[in-house]
Symmetry: C2
Subunit: 251 residues, 2 copies
Amino acid sequence: MTGCLAIVGLGPGAAELRTPQAAAALAVATDLVGYGPYLARVPLRPDQECHASENREELARARQALSLAAAGRFVALVSSGDAGVFAMASAVFEAIEAGEPAWRQLEVSVVPGVSAMLAAAARVGAPLGHDFCAISLSDNLKPWDVLVQRLTAAAAAGFVIALYNPLSRARPWQLGVAFDLLRPLLPGSAPVVFATAVSRPEERIDITTLAAADAARADMRTLVLIGSAATRRIARPGGPPWLYTPRRHGA
Amino acid sequence: MTGCLAIVGLGPGAAELRTPQAAAALAVATDLVGYGPYLARVPLRPDQECHASENREELARARQALSLAAAGRFVALVSSGDAGVFAMASAVFEAIEAGEPAWRQLEVSVVPGVSAMLAAAARVGAPLGHDFCAISLSDNLKPWDVLVQRLTAAAAAGFVIALYNPLSRARPWQLGVAFDLLRPLLPGSAPVVFATAVSRPEERIDITTLAAADAARADMRTLVLIGSAATRRIARPGGPPWLYTPRRHGA
């Protein structure tokens, strides 16, 4: 029996931001595995088996997907956004490395997608138009002092910062402390974007400044963008401003 | 006359990695504007006007697209990868800020896409599975000492590094010097990926180490990924290794 595993990035939400390659990988699957709310975005056929799991069970979910593939099933393991950015692809390879030797011979593919930071940036202009970094603010998987060091280094080096996993019920304080940490390092006028559920019906985009940024505007579905000292704001009559980071340093 | 401008990310190359939203924006356009080789990827209809331009004329191209939209045309300005990542979106907003006041009232949208780093990462596993940064190695638009500072900060902070614009005929030495700069800061065994023309017929993926990385493997179409000290390599029988960066710090 030769199964296979595709780790599929669904994009940020809307089907129109899902690549044809992702749609094809979902269509050929016999089994779909993933976090329940992400699986709910996928149109399922009656002949497809659906294996929904809870949040924060990434490694168990990865092992389940690998076991199904090893048993001959055609498995699509779904992630929101891009599968490789703070999502399921890394968990799968961690499971492969620590798991059964036969798993290394499975046909495993990663189907990329439009990640949350790209979708969020597109909504407000081009804030990622110059050097930037992406940081997961979850300290479930790394010590807080590493996060402090990375945020500090990113701000000092002039990177625009995309924050994934800014906040959850179990981690309510990190985002506010991150803003406090960055305030002495960046201009108070640096733009901050709270982009929640981009491209989904409940989408909400808040544009503010670092001086005024209030962590309470974020929830689990929010991607936070923090501009650098170079990021600019263009006022528009009758609409929210455009934000962009110039291509030229010192522009 | 009310025209509009969509700044469209085509994805890395293959049509199967282009979002339906991007395809729709191309289909409704009366005018397509872009760098010639990117426009060549778009299926054009006889009723569509095509405005191809040379490389390194981003600002003139942005102004042309805005002028056409201001004249009532439906314009799609194409970028490879994601339109907001070292691509045309930033140039458009720069042109808007410095340009005619009427341009601020144009309907401008950014259509995100699968950026080169996401497509490259997917081909080799999940190297962007933890905190990472994206840096353009072109010093046409910023001083080399800023690049040195950012590369150093990124390596010291433990970011995986995606390098855009690593090399061109006019900039032959920067990538080699960047490797030399990073060698004392990262393990020699840190994985380096040269991902050239991902998803296009001429795709070539080279996986090596920082100790062995040779800048001559890159060209203008190459995205370079440099793993952190945490990035792991999983040997596979009969195939190239998988690379991934664990979700957990210190894993």
